[in-house]
Amino acid sequence: MNFDDTPQEAAFRAEARAWIQANAPKEFEAELSQPTVGRIKLKNRDILEESKKWQTKKAAAGWACLHWPKEFGGRGATPIERVIWQQEEGFYGKLEGVFLIGQGMCGPTMMAFGSDADKKKYLPPLASGEHVWCQLFSEPSAGSDVAGLRTRAEKKGDDWIINGQKVWTTGAHFSDYGIVITRTDPTQPKHKGLTMFWLDMKSPGVVVKPIKQANGQSEFNEVYFTDVKIPDSQRLGKVGDGWNVSLTTLMNERMSIGARQSTGFPELFAFCNDLMLEDGPAIDDKNVRSKLAGWAVKASGLKYTSYRSISALSRGERPGPENSIGKLVAGTMLQDIAMFAMDLQGASGALTDADSPSIAGQFQSILLRSPSDRIAGGTDEILRNIIAERVLGLPGDIRVDKDVPFNAIPTKGR
C-alpha cells in the first residue's frame, strides 16, 4: 500500500511535467481550469481543431496513447505511468474528449484484430489525433440488446456490401473512420451470425444525420448505409465472430469511460463553499454537509477503486467486469448532484445563464446532460446485470431468443 513514486516513476513524472509546462496550450488555461462537467467550450475557437492540435503535439513528442506500443504511435508505458501522465496533464486532458471512443475503444479492437499492415497504417494517425474514429454498434432495435442488430453485410466476391442503419453514433459527423458490427448470417442464433469491420466514413453510401439531443446539443447521429462496399481485408476477426470482437471493445469501453467519469463532486463542493444561504454559507448547513459527505465518500471510493484496478493491471491482469462500477456510480451521482445544487438556488435554480455570477448555470447543463451518462456505454440496469452475473456469479437473465435462428425471432414495432 503505497502512493509514492518509485524512482523510475518519479523520473517519468518529472519529464512529463517539464514537457507539459513547456508545451501546453496555455491560452486555454482559464477556460479549461474551470470546473466543466459535460461539454467544454472554448470561446471563439473550435474545440475539435484545438484538441487535434494538442494531440498532434503530444504525439510528436511521444506523449500520445501512452500505453500503446511505440510502433502504433504510443509509448509502451505502464498503466501507472499513464495515471501519472493524466495527473500531470490535469485539465489539459479535457481536450482529449473527442478522441475517447477512437483511442479508448476502436484502437484496442483494431490492435487485437486488424491486419499488420492496417495497424501500422491506421493506428498512428488515430493516436496523434489526425483521424477521429467512431463506434457504430447501436441500432434502433438494438441498444442494450446490441446482438439484436439488423444491419446486413453480404459477401460479393472479395467485398462486403452493407445495408442498414445505426443510431446514437457519437461523433460520426466528424469521424474519419469507424468500426461497425453487422449481421452476416441471419439463419444463425443472434450472437453467432455477426461480423465486425472497420470502414472509411467517407465511403459512398454512408449518410450521417445529426440528432438533436434532449439538452439541445448534437453530439450523436443516425448513420445510414446504402450498398456501402468494403473489402474483406477490412474485416476484424472471423466471419461470424463479431460478438466476441465487440466484447473486446466493450470491456475497453468500461475501463476507459469508468476511469475518467465526472462525478460532479468537486464542482458541488466548491459551489457550496461559495454559496450564501439565508443563514450563512451553504457549507455550514447541516443538511448540505450530510449530502456533501455522502457524495464525497462515493467520489473517493471511485478514485481508490480505480487505483486498485490500476495496481491489478500493472501486475498484468486484464481489465475485468468490476470496472462497470465507475460509470454506474458516477452517472447517478452526477444527476443527483445537479438537482441538489439547483435546489440550493431556490427559484433561481431554473435559470441557465452560466455566465451570471449569482447562479451556477453549469449544474443546469449537467442536469440536462446527465441522463445520457446513465444510458451511453451500457445502462445502469445492464451494468448491474454485468456485476451480478460476471462478478458475483449469479445466473444470467432468461433469454428466450438465445438459441433461435435470428430470422425466426418474432419482431414487433420497428
Binding site: R289, G301, I325, L328, A388, V391, L394, P395
Partner: protein, 375 residues
C-alpha cells in the same frame, strides 16, 4: 504506486480467516448474544496466542511489531466473523491511545498485557446522548482521581482498565480535557451492564467516585490525543465493517443461488440480482476507501483525518446497506432468530454508533475537507 496488500499480508489474512471461521462460528457468537457469557474467553486467548492481539504492538512491548496494515487485515477478519471479543475497545482504542501518548512505563505496564490477552481495555468517553464533544464531558479529574458517570462504555463491564476523558479545567476550551488511565478493578468504580442491540459488544455505565487515575500524556492535550485515537480507530473499525459487509453480501449471494421460487433460483430474478449488485458496489467503494485509510494510518500521513472520516462513513453505510439487504434477499428466513442475518444487522448498527454517529463523521469530514481546501 501500489494500492493493494502485499503477499505476506494476504497470507496473514488467509490465516486469520481460517482461524476465525473455525473458532468464531455463528454458534459462538450466539452464545454471547444470548447472554450465556460476557465474551468468548477461549477465542480471546486464542487470538492472543495467534499473535493477532499484538500484531501492531512493538516487539519490545510484547507484540509482533508487524504494523498497522497487518492490523487492518486482522480487523477485517474480526468483522467478517463477528468475533464476540472486546477487540475494538482493547486494540483500536486503549492500545492505540497508550501507543500514541503513553509514557514508557505505561507502555511497559499495559501493552504486554494487552498483547497476551491478559488485559481488556476500553475508552470511557460518552456521557449519555450525543457525539464526541469536549463540551459534553462532565466527569472531572483532580488530584489523581476521577469522579462522575460515563455511559455507554463499550465492553465496560469486562474491561480491566479504561482510558477516561475527564475535565481538568473550566475555560470551556479543548485544553480542559485530559485523558487518564483508570484501573477498573480498583476502588471507587461501580459498573452497571446495559442491555443493548448486540451483547457481543456489551455496554455498561461506569460511575467513578474518586477513582485513582493516572494521566495519559499531557493533560492539556487530552482532546487532541483523543481525536487522533478516534481517527485511528475509525480506520480500523472501518475494516471491521467492511469485513462484515462482505460477509453479508456473500451470504445473500449464496442464498440467492440456492433458494428456488417460481421454478428458478431467486438469484436469476433481476430485482434480486440488482439488490446484490448494489451491495457489491457499496462494499467495494468502502473497501477502496479503507485502503486509502490504511495507507494513511500506516504512514501517519497528513491526510489521516480526512481518510479516516472517509473510510468510516463509507464503511458504516456499506455495512448497514449490505446487512439490511441480506435480510431482504433471505425473505422470511432472514427474519428468523435461527438464521444469522440478524447477527450482521445488529452488529452493523452497533458499529455505526460506536465511535460517534454517521452525522458526527459527516461533519468531521466536511470540516477536514474545508481545511484542506483552505490551506
Amino acid at each position: 504506486m501500489n494500492f493493494e496488500f502485499s503477499e505476506d499480508q494476504k497470507q496473514l489474512r488467509d490465516q486469520a480467516r481460517r482461524y476465525l471461521t473455525e473458532q468464531s462460528p455463528p454458534k459462538a457468537v450466539r452464545a454471547v448474544l444470548e447472554g450465556n457469557a460476557p465474551y468468548d474467553k477461549a477465542l480471546w486467548k486464542g487470538l492472543a496466542e495467534m499473535g493477532f492481539l499484538g500484531v501492531a504492538i512493538p516487539e519490545e512491548f510484547g507484540g509482533a511489531g508487524a504494523g498497522h496494515l497487518e492490523l487492518c487485515v486482522i480487523a477485517e477478519e474480526i468483522g467478517r466473523a463477528l468475533a464476540p471479543v472486546p477487540f475494538s475497545s482493547t486494540i483500536y482504542l486503549a492500545a492505540e491511545a497508550i501507543m500514541l501518548a503513553g509514557s514508557d512505563a505505561q507502555k511497559a505496564k499495559w501493552l504486554p498485557k494487552i498483547a497476551s490477552g491478559e488485559a481488556i481495555g476500553t475508552l470511557a468517553l460518552f456521557e449519555g446522548v450525543g457525539n464526541p464533544s469536549h463540551k459534553a464531558i462532565k466527569v472531572s479529574a483532580s488530584q489523581g482521581a476521577v469522579s462522575g458517570t460515563k455511559t455507554p462504555v463499550a465492553d465496560g463491564a469486562i474491561a480491566n482498565f479504561a482510558i477516561v476523558a475527564a475535565r481538568t479545567g473550566s475555560t470551556g476550551r479543548e485544553a480542559d480535557i485530559g485523558l487518564f488511565i483508570v484501573d477498573l478493578t480498583g476502588d471507587g468504580v461501580t459498573r452497571k451492564p446495559l442491555a443493548n442491540l448486540d451483547q457481543a459488544h456489551g455496554q455498561a455505565e461506569i460511575t467513578f467516585d474518586r477513582a485513582k487515575a493516572e494521566p495519559l500524556g499531557n493533560t492539556a492535550e487530552g482532546w487532541n490525543i483523543l481525536t487522533r485515537v478516534l481517527d485511528r480507530a475509525a480506520v480500523l473499525m472501518a475494516f471491521e465493517q467492511v469485513g462484515g459487509a462482505d460477509r453479508a453480501l456473500e451470504m445473500g449471494r449464496d442464498y440467492a443461488l440456492d433458494r428456488v421460487a417460481f421454478g428458478r433460483p431467486i438469484g436469476s430474478f433481476q430485482a434480486v440480482k440488482h439488490i446484490l449488485a448494489d451491495m457489491y458496489v457499496s462494499a467495494t467503494l468502502a473497501r477502496s476507501n479503507c485502503y486509502y485509510g490504511a495507507w494513511a494510518l500506516s504512514t501517519d500521513a497528513g491526510e489521516l483525518p480526512e481518510a479516516a472520516a472517509t473510510a468510516r462513513i463509507s464503511a458504516t453505510q456499506a455495512f448497514q446497506h449490505c446487512s439490511k439487504n441480506n435480510i431482504q434477499v433471505h425473505g422470511g428466513m432472514g427474519f428468523t432468530w435461527e438464521f444469522d442475518c440478524h447477527l450482521y444487522y445488529r452488529r452493523a448498527n452497533v458499529l455505526a454508533l460506536s465511535l460517534g454517529s454517521l452525522t458526527y463523521w459527516e461533519n468531521q469530514l466536511i470540516d477536514r475537507m474545508r481545511f484542506r481546501n483552505a490551506s
